[in-house]
């Protein structure tokens, strides 16, 4: 490096004082130190920015000057409009949720002894690429509840609260006393009256769908003023059963909802027992119809379509939270640990509840840190690309697109409109500038 300091061939000007020569030497050394950085920045950053700004005023092929046409196009084209709308959702929702979640976790984690381990765990996703995170969540959001863990959980919770003993494939044989209504429910063909025993036979239920606890069908003998019977699977394994008759080996269908209807209105409801039996007590004399509502035959609940057009953006924001919450928590936690302990303790001694301490003291004191976290997240959210590119399945990509992905699609991904692409890039740059200015100013202040 030192050899660079004497310019080759050019002898120092005759008569220059040694001091001035030393001065010049120092400057040349200094330039040698910054030159590599300045060359790279000039060629690969400064020049491209200027080029992009200029390019954004030209048409797709770059041959015709179109003025602000690309910028106007941005707000006309439905695809870029979707991107702008989605970017707005991202920028508002993700930093807000992250800052809030980070604050809550930072406060709570101080109360446990394994705080460090917890922080490490939540921070770890920051090390992982968006690609890997994308694959992880693509897997978790898988729609089939037998594959996607999220839908498995959703279906599990749903079924725990709502009995799912339905028989989507069950049907009644024609002409054996049950008629199918257009909405999928079944009604007895003839009228029944109290004292009758009604057996309702179904077929088409695969053995795997019959609940394990099902017992051989045993119709209830209805007493006076009662209507009873059984819903059963009219099929004898191995053959030999008679259609329309409850045979010995035939099992009941438990968990069916049965209604007794009079004049088209349900007056009583029962659920079949393990042997398929049901009973309606204390019915007034008259003629009734027994009805099996369509819900008995509805297909099972399949969970949520996370990556469908409606939910894809919230779903990807969820993955983003998984990556960045640790960051927000650790940063806010650092601010928290430098709060004046005595102020908090004094308030507690005064009988302030934890909530009051949090609301009145912690949050106001942390406001500067919270702002920093929020602004930093805004900058990073603006540039989110890989996560959307990976998680959104092909057909849904246009519903999930944001400025950064749209810029890519327009310029390189088939659109090949580099004029519009450059305009989108410039817009992205303009949107990031305010947040960046904030960060740099704050940094300079913290330095002085």
């Amino acid at each position: 490096m030192t050899t660079l300091t004497t310019p080759v061939g050019a002898a120092p000007a005759r008569g220059a004082s040694p001091r001035r020569r030393a001065e010049r030497r120092r400057r040349i050394i200094a330039l040698a130190f910054v030159l590599p950085a300045l060359l790279l920045l000039g060629a690969l950053v400064v020049h491209p920015v200027l080029f992009s700004v200029g390019r954004s005023f030209f048409d797709a092929s770059g041959s015709r000057f179109v003025g602000g046409e690309n910028y106007a196009e941005m707000f006309r084209d439905p695809a870029t409009l979707t991107a702008i709308r989605n970017s707005a959702i991202w920028v508002v929702v993700a930093p807000t949720l992250l800052t809030g979640l980070g604050l809550i976790l930072a406060v709570l984690v101080e109360k446990v002894r394994w705080a460090t381990a917890f922080k490490l765990l939540l921070f770890m996703p920051m090390a992982v690429s968006f690609l890997a995170a994308g694959i992880i969540f693509r897997l978790a959001y898988e729609e089939d509840p037998d594959k996607g863990v999220l839908n498995a959980a959703v279906v599990g919770v749903h079924d725990a609260f709502k009995e799912s003993s339905s028989y989507p494939t069950a049907r009644a044989r024609e002409g054996q006393g049950l008629d199918r209504a257009p909405d999928g429910s079944y009604r007895t063909t003839g009228a029944v009256s109290p004292g009758d025993t009604v057996t309702l036979g179904f077929v088409g239920v695969p053995p795997a769908d019959v609940p394990a606890g099902a017992k051989p069908a045993a119709p209830v003998r209805a007493g006076a003023g009662e209507l009873g019977g059984a819903v059963y699977l009219d099929f004898t394994p191995g053959g030999g059963g008679r259609p329309g008759v409850v045979d010995a080996a035939e099992r009941g269908l438990p968990g069916m909802t049965v209604e007794a209807e009079r004049d088209g209105r349900a007056v009583a409801t029962a659920t079949t027992a393990a042997d398929g039996s049901f009973r309606f007590g204390e019915l007034a004399a008259g003629s009734y119809t027994v009805r099996l509502p369509a819900a008995n035959f509805a297909p099972p609940y399949e969970g949520v379509s996370w990556l469908g057009p409606a939910l894809v953006t919230p779903a990807i924001i969820g993955a983003y939270l998984w990556i960045w919450t640790g960051f927000a928590m650790v940063l806010i936690g650092a601010g928290l640990s430098s709060l004046p302990r005595d102020a908090l303790e004094a308030a507690r001694m005064d009988g302030a509840s934890e909530w009051q301490v949090f609301r009145r003291i912690t949050v106001p004191l942390l406001a500067p840190v919270l702002t920093v976290v929020f602004v930093t997240l805004v900058i990073n959210v603006m540039k989110v690309f890989d996560l959307i590119y990976i998680i959104a399945p092909g057909p849904v990509q246009e519903d999930a697109t944001v400025l950064a992905t749209q810029m890519w699609l327009v310029s390189f991904g088939g659109g090949n409109n580099q004029g519009l692409g450059s305009a989108l890039g410039v817009l992205l740059l303009l949107l990031v500038i305010p947040a960046m200015v904030f960060n740099v100013r704050r940094f300079r202040r913290s330095q002085s």
């Binding site: 030192t2 920015v49 690429s129 890997a132 601010g335 005064d350 920093v372 890519w408």
Partner: protein, 308 residues
């Protein structure tokens, strides 16, 4: 490295005057019970959050250890009760996959030189901006800081054109140069500010001893700046290791890193989890090892780098 951790304001709202009466014992006991119950709730909540964070990764790991037919038939959680499903077959297949292994080495060949170049070039420039004098120094530094805002997206198109003319498009050196250029503004910003805190007397003393600037730089500035350099290096390494966007454009099929190789397979998601899951795991294990090996520097590096 307090790049993002602002000092909290020193003036707190004056706390209420000290309590005048001691709390009644009964109330204290009630408070203790409440606090104990509250802590139980807090613990339970944090455990649930922790599980939510672990589950997706566990899903990836277990999926990567199951056969394609198992993954097609049932969820990864069934392996918890039937560990017989797990085997290393997918990984053996992956390591025999020429595309994946080459992509892995490409990732190394891109991220290691990038990190080294960014650190060296930024350290030189950072020292010059902090302690050497040349015309327009402060203005140029301000310009460099202003370049922090430029998102890589803005550079893609023009640099692609430039690299096309230079024959660098689709090559590893092209990808490296792009990453270096876009890593520099932040790196210079960080190191200049760190170097500027070196006490002037230390440098003057070194100059008095007759040390040239190069000597001062290598013998004094670099050793003193080691914590900042370590954080920068880790951040930069991860940034490049995890990058997909830049390589997606600038690398061709023979120079593409793991992220790009894997994303090309995502199109067939569902039918090739046996390749994607172990591939994703391979790509994330390196950063995670770096994470646990250099925890402190890592957290500082990521914290500082996030201002970008």
């Amino acid at each position: 490295m307090s790049a993002t951790v602002t000092a909290p304001p020193s003036k707190a709202p004056a706390p209420a005057p000290a309590p005048t009466s001691r709390p009644v014992p009964g109330r204290a006991a009630g408070g203790r019970l409440r606090r104990w119950l509250g802590n139980g709730l807090v613990r339970a909540f944090l455990v649930v959050v922790g599980l939510v964070w672990v589950t997706p990764v566990a899903g990836l790991l277990l999926s990567s250890l199951r056969s394609a037919s198992d993954n097609a038939a049932s969820g990864w959680w069934t392996a918890l009760t039937a560990p017989g499903q797990l085997s290393l077959d997918n990984y053996t297949a992956l390591l025999g996959n020429a595309g994946i292994t080459r992509a892995f080495w490409n990732t190394v060949l891109i991220s290691v030189p990038t990190t080294a170049l960014v650190v060296v070039i930024a350290a030189l420039a950072g020292y010059a901006f902090a302690w050497l004098e040349f015309p327009g120094r402060d203005w140029i530094f301000l310009l460099v800081v202003a370049l922090l805002v430029v998102p890589v997206q803005v550079g893609l198109l023009p640099v692609a054109k430039l690299f096309g003319q230079l024959g660098l498009f689709g090559t590893i050196p092209g990808v490296v140069l792009f990453h270096v250029a876009y890593g520099l503004p932040f790196a210079i910003f960080l190191l200049r500010n760190y170097f500027a805190d070196i006490p002037r007397e230390m440098l003057e003393a070194a100059r008095m001893d007759g040390g040239g600037e190069w000597r001062i730089f290598t013998r004094l500035v670099l050793p003193v700046g080691r914590p900042a350099i370590a954080s920068l290096a880790i951040f930069q390494f991860l940034w490049v290791w995890n990058d997909m966007l830049v390589a997606l454009l600038f690398a061709d099929s023979s120079s593409q890193p793991l992220t790009v190789e894997l994303q090309s397979q995502v199109r067939l998601f569902g039918s090739n989890i046996d390749v994607l899951a172990p591939g994703a795991f391979l790509s994330l294990i390196v950063p995670v090892v770096v994470f646990f090996a250099f925890q402190r520097h890592f957290v500082q590096g990521v914290m500082a780098g996030s201002v970008k």
